[in-house]
Symmetry: C2
Subunit: 317 residues, 2 copies
């Protein structure tokens, strides 16, 4: 199995640079005071399509275009779908997208707006993969998997490259982990740039397949996870699991309450909108203050696509 | 009556520069596409205390400090209160704040966190002024009025100075109007820097005292306004009315539905949190597309303090 290298990620960065936003790195005096850490937030919620996923999709699509591929397909709970749809549109290609019928309407609308053809399926990994397989046979479109894809992983790693360029020497870098594409790219980039940096994965306790896989050394699939962090429902692949075992120092799991509280903290103090999957990272800091106290900590805020009519804040107040 | 000049605002800018955030100017391809205008958003929701009000408060407090004043007092529905509390704290002064008992708890907590002493009153302008008068007599603290104050107005104008520096030649500049402090400072700065720029006030139709005053030439007080834009409930003063009549080209009023829709648009597309009072500006653009089509339009997003457990989005979906 060939794993991505820092050089692959740097190549991806050069390739996609003119297509992606260089998102800001934000800090919050108040969150630093509350958490005791010194946090640098890489705001991929401001990325095109509102999520880091655009980086990986754009990298994969540009490489397929070089091969003269004209149609791409994927299955995704949302952000990767919008990302592939827009990347294909920008590259002059057609995109097919298989989405669970339970995906937030804001995500469905985004995919439609970017001109992709949507097929709905049941909200299970199996149903997604089956529907995708059928559609691939029918159309001949090339699969761009949301995370089990070398070039997607390289694209995702470019956010960490920018964060480390801007924030300088970090002690710790945290990324959320669902299928593991972001954490794979992030950890490869970070360890390549600074061998003694600690890289942590952040995962909902209610969807702790990556944590269980990491601690046991055996790939555990995600079994009917129930979490507000709807971007983190998927399971690691052999590829992402291998990269994560090699590069990641630890995976922390957090409660649903911590995720909502962290999300509220970011919204209220930073005045930016992040989705629950992003807030899982800050929740790790808040649940483990001793690990992060006084540490320069980078956090990848993965995205900002939330259904505004279904916010969790009422439940707590 | 002495009115502030561009030079006064530039002096204020030099005075407060090292205390305030230079907030970013953001653009949104999607909102430009939807509105037909080319909009530059000055993001004062990222200002200290989450609102432009910090600029005016800091300017007034620094000038009072030069006079060796040690205690300040104000009445405010929220943002000015937090602003004065923090400005006083940063200047080593004590702040008293009279707040309506209906103010959002997020705003009350912010004022408390900054160390000000709070006195609650009924949510009417008369009750506020009475409570403030009693407290002033008792303590000898100096009043820093939220908008009927020369130095506060000069401070508020500094956001427009930064916006025009950064966005270049604008055709139109819009600011929300409540008591008129922001619109007074904004219009003075804008007309001073570019005499042919159009400056518009944005006001909820349900709190249209500035509109009625502007169109009739007679100062109308705000009578029991009911709007989601809780920062715009106050009435113009003689000072702000005089400045607005001199410098402002028009005041547009908008419906509550438009305010909520504009707020949703900003949250969903820009991934930033703005309060309803800020969204009134974009609502003006959306309700009057012919006025803004193809125009380079500056918008002051005045603040980002909202009660997350009482959001209006459910009502519409």
């Amino acid at each position: 199995m060939i794993l991505p290298s820092l050089e692959n990620i740097k190549e991806a960065h050069r390739r996609i640079k003119s297509y992606v936003h260089r998102t800001p790195v934000m800090t919050s005096t108040q969150i630093n005071r509350i958490s005791g850490a010194e946090i640098f937030f890489k705001c991929e919620n401001f990325q095109k399509v509102g999520a880091f996923k655009f980086r990986g999709a754009m990298n994969a699509v540009l490489l397929l275009k070089e091969e003269e591929v004209r149609e791409v397909i994927t299955h995704s709970s949302g952000n990767h779908a919008a990302a592939l749809a827009l990347a294909a549109k920008m590259a002059g290609m057609k995109a097919y997208v298989v989405m669970p019928r339970t995906a937030p309407s804001v995500k469905i609308n985004a995919v439609r707006d970017y001109g992709a053809e949507i097929t709905f399926c049941e909200p299970t990994q199996k149903a997604r993969e089956e529907a995708t397989g059928i559609l691939m046979e029918k159309t001949g479109a090339r699969l761009v998997h949301p995370y089990d894809n070398f070039n997607v992983i390289c694209g995702q790693g470019t956010a960490a490259v920018e964060l480390l360029e801007e924030a300088g020497e970090l002690d710790i870098l945290i990324a959320p982990v669902g299928g593991g594409g972001l954490l794979s790219g992030t950890s490869t980039a970070a360890k390549g740039l600074k061998s003694n940096i600690k890289v942590f994965g952040a995962e909902p306790r209610n969807a702790d397949d990556a944590y269980r896989s990491f601690t046991t050394g055996i790939l555990h699939p995600s079994v009917s996870p129930k979490t507000i962090a709807d971007g983190l429902l998927t399971s690691l692949s052999e590829l992402t699991f291998t990269i994560i075992r090699k590069n990641v120092d630890n995976i922390f799991t957090v409660s649903e309450e911590s995720i909502i509280e962290a999300m509220r903290l970011i919204w209220e103090r930073m005045k930016i909108i992040v989705e629950p999957s992003s807030a899982v990272t800050l929740a790790v800091v808040m649940e483990n203050p001793d690990v992060f106290r006084g540490k320069k900590t980078g956090i990848i805020l993965s995205g900002g696509n939330v259904e505004l009519s279904e916010l969790p804040f009422n439940q707590l107040s």
